[in-house]
Assembly symmetry: C2
Homo-oligomer: 137 residues x 2
């Protein structure tokens, strides 16, 4: 379910690593070891707001968000899930799925705009990507 | 579609005014004149995460979020819609629908945790509530 004209926004590409391609969305891991943080991007060009997606794609998007949330939770214990679709900086439609722990680097505020990312080391991110791919199957 | 045991969280009640009751959610207007800002709360007790809702209720929730977004957009021009389900402070499941304008009080950051609310005056909020109720019909 891909749109031939779709291309991932360069900023999202730069900040993340590709985990998996689900039916509608690419699942990306934010390269920020401070938070367990996935980003889902529907592979449809020109989408900005959720309502730009067809009703069927909106339903599928939220199903894939639930699936990604469960995968994230299978890796890490966290106290609260944060979901967000903002797009104030990157307009390409994307949904954040973030596991939050009481006392984490931004608690109880939102993660967006809260300081600089702490990149994973290569070994850790490779292992996380692998575990996420298994969990998403 | 209400749960007899459901009661709105006192903090949400204090920060908002009731707009309308849709099939699943109560639609509330955040009493903060800085942003066009609705909050949707499914009238189901004990819900914290989106996945606590049944699949059917999740679908209905996002339909009602779309409907609320359209009502908000019919009142105000804005550049980007922000959707968020955080719950780090108030655990009762609720979804924020916020119209963002370039250069607004929190732009391009998120509205959550960005300074103190500026309450509407009574005349303005009464008129906005009325317009929102009409737009939601």
């Amino acid at each position: 379910m891909s749109d031939a004209a779709f291309a991932l926004d360069p900023r999202l590409k730069n900040d993340t690593r590709h985990v998996a391609s689900l039916d509608l969305c690419d699942v990306l891991l934010m390269n920020d070891a401070r938070f367990p943080w996935l980003v889902l991007v529907p592979r449809q060009s020109g989408m900005v707001e959720l309502c730009d997606l067809s009703a069927a794609h909106q339903t599928l998007l939220w199903q894939e968000v639930t699936r990604a949330s469960q995968a994230l939770r299978s890796l890490d214990a966290f106290d609260k899930l944060n979901l967000g679709a903002l797009g104030n900086i990157v307009r390409q439609l994307h949904v954040h799925v973030v596991g939050r722990r009481e006392g984490d680097a931004a608690w109880p505020g939102p993660v967006w705009g809260s300081g600089a990312a702490t990149p994973y080391d290569e070994e850790t991110i490779t292992s996380r990507l692998q575990m996420l791919r298994t969990a998403l199957k």
